[in-house]
């Protein structure tokens, strides 16, 4: 089968691209292994709510129009939103079609699927940034008799045996799951490495109102200081709740969660945690306050101080002042499960082209894949701007990439 562009994946990013190509009358298909919004239907834990408020959930030509713009959507609601979008833009989605290999044909690509191959001039990789759990090598040293989980398989606390749980990683996922597991009566130890602390609201507004309005989400890939580092930053410690409460190491410690440093090693059933916890907390506190200072500067220069509450600063993280536990004999401490909330990575094992760096990451410049003319990637972190990591980034990213893709097709037609 032939088409001009194959889009791989019918999540929000692939569908936004589909809509852009339709606008430009570029012939394409969207290949989806499951059904539209598959990852929101099958890969999220039960209690998940977006970190981003509903008003920020917008795709090209469509914005949230429900009754609760300041609320945070559940996975089911996100799936419904994306599903509606697919119908609204009449995306040419082929469900139940898994891409198994992408190879070069010289002037284009062959996309092999479990339902036969496609030939095309250009490929848009929209297969998601979070297909696999990025689990550190130390996971292999978890002793027998203690179950290992990841956020991709975990649904709710009843998936875990009664008993203690070691949660590794304190990004949004780690802090949220540590809290809900602890509430289920399973004592939780939370291992904390580098993390990003943010207040849920600041001066009366959601933190995303600030980063959206102050232009922080629009910082471009070629503007940020260190793009590799910016792309690998953990998600901020936030949770979407009706009360819009903040979540951080101190609120978790107050609930009885034991906060320890980064998991450094595991041998003979004894986990060792870094003694650098205090410094990782200090770094996060300083960074959060630098951001707040920057937001204050913006508010003043934008003349908005009058409509906002007074500036504040985050209190230093109190658990940083305590001497942390450095080692834990898992069996003796009654730990029955270890949950590695250590991030996600894409699964591009079907992409048979030399487009990866030595750490296995796809090399691209603003979504234009290096050394693969006519290949684009969308939906990964900071593809073109900080916003790219979120649903609301698909609008501007797909507009620009569709433009570049169109130029590529025109140049190819002339060649």
């Amino acid at each position: 089968m032939h088409t001009t562009v194959v889009i791989i994946g019918a999540g929000h990013a692939g569908l936004a691209m589909s809509r852009r190509l339709t606008e430009r009358s570029i012939d394409h298909v969207v290949l989806e292994r499951g059904e539209v919004a598959n990852s929101w239907r099958t890969e999220r834990w039960d209690s998940l709510r977006l970190l981003t408020p509903n008003w920020l959930t917008r795709l090209p030509g469509r914005a949230y129009a429900g009754p609760d713009p300041d609320g945070y959507a559940s996975a089911r609601e996100v799936a419904a939103f994306i599903d509606d979008y697919a119908s609204a833009v009449s995306a040419p989605v082929l469900n139940g079609t898994t891409v198994t290999a992408v190879t070069s044909t010289g002037d284009g690509y062959q996309v092999a699927t479990d339902r036969g191959p496609w030939r095309c001039a250009a490929v848009v990789i929209a297969s998601g940034a979070c297909n696999l759990a990025a689990v550190p090598p130390v996971a292999a040293d978890v002793p027998p008799g203690i179950a290992v989980h990841t956020p991709l398989t975990y649904r709710n606390p009843t998936d875990l045996e009664p008993g203690g749980v070691l949660v590794v990683g304190a990004s949004a996922t780690g802090v949220q799951l540590a809290e809900e597991i602890n509430c289920s009566g399973r004592p939780v130890t939370l291992s904390v490495g580098e993390h990003v602390r943010l207040p849920r609201t600041y001066r009366g507004r959601d933190i995303f109102w600030w980063t959206d309005r102050a232009g922080i989400l629009d910082e471009r890939h070629d503007e940020v200081d260190d793009i590799v580092r910016a792309r690998s930053l953990p998600s901020p410690q936030l949770v979407g709740t009706p009360e819009r409460r903040s979540i951080d190491l101190d609120t978790l410690a107050a609930r009885g969660i034991t906060i320890v440093g980064r998991l450094g090693g595991l041998a003979e059933g004894v986990a060792r945690f870094s003694g650098s916890l205090a410094n990782t907390c200090t770094l996060a506190d300083l960074k959060a306050n630098r951001l707040l200072a920057r937001l204050d500067d913006w508010a003043t220069s934008a003349g908005r101080d009058d409509e906002l509450g007074p500036p504040e600063r985050m209190e230093p993280t109190r658990v940083a002042g305590r001497t942390p536990l450095l080692e834990l004999d898992l069996h003796r401490a009654g730990i029955r499960s270890v949950l590695f909330a250590t991030g996600y990575r894409p699964d591009l094992s079907w992409l048979h082209l030399p487009v990866f760096d030595r750490r296995g990451r796809i090399e691209h410049c603003g979504g234009v894949v290096c050394d693969a003319p006519g290949m684009y990637v969308v939906g990964h972190g900071l593809v073109r701007r900080r916003r790219s990591s979120f649903i609301c980034g698909a609008g501007p990213d797909s507009a620009e990439l569709a433009h570049l893709l169109h130029q590529h097709l025109d140049a190819r037609a002339l060649a």
């Binding site: 450094g264 090693g265 003694g275 410094n279 200090t282 770094l283 630098r290």
Partner: protein
């Protein structure tokens, strides 16, 4: 010329360091370094460590001269106190590493240092090394570092400087995280 017009000079060549970071990211083999020390027993608890060379950037290197460090135990341990104790040398290593980091990060951030002093304390219950109490570890139960820094920067910037130097410090990592150590007899 006012203070702020003077170019910041902490004696650190950050351009070279940033260049090395760039170059080594492209050539990861060259980034693999091995550091070496040899130690000879002198008498009693007194020993002399010698540091001559290391490998990295795909080749062997000699220090400009051979450095030696005397180590011993103090008189209250019935020794002769002919050198610092090994644990004090560890504190010195941590202090030097963090201090070098402070200078490098300050240079990179355009902060002129006027003076930097690190004061370290390491607590230890010696019942551990004496084998008198199996519940007491041999090593430090806690290390405290205090930096006194005089620089043209706000207290927040100085705090950030010190935090960043810990984040990038080799010895800080060595003392806060486990390392696999093998010891064999030749």
């Amino acid at each position: 010329m006012t203070m702020t017009d003077t170019p910041v000079d902490n004696g650190v060549n950050t351009e070279a360091l940033l260049g090395a970071r760039e170059a080594l990211s492209e050539a990861p083999e060259a980034a693999a370094f091995t550091w070496r020390a040899t130690c000879s027993w002198v008498h009693g608890t007194h020993s002399t460590s010698t540091i001559e060379g290391f490998s990295g950037l795909g080749t062997d290197h000699q220090h400009k001269k051979t450095f030696t460090f005397e180590a011993d135990h103090p008189e209250c341990f019935a020794s002769q106190d002919l050198g610092a104790t090994p644990v004090e040398i560890v504190l010195a290593g941590l202090a030097s590493c963090l201090t070098a980091g402070v200078a490098a990060v300050a240079q990179h951030r355009g902060i002129q240092l006027r003076s930097v002093t690190a004061t370290l304390e390491g607590d230890m219950n010696v019942l551990g090394i004496l084998g008198a109490d199996p519940d007491v570890r041999n090593g430090f139960s806690a290390i405290r570092v205090r930096f006194d820094i005089d620089a043209n920067a706000s207290p927040d910037d100085i705090e950030a400087l010190v935090a960043q130097s810990q984040k990038r410090s080799a010895v800080f990592d060595i003392v806060t995280n486990p390392t696999a150590v093998t010891v064999e007899v030749a």
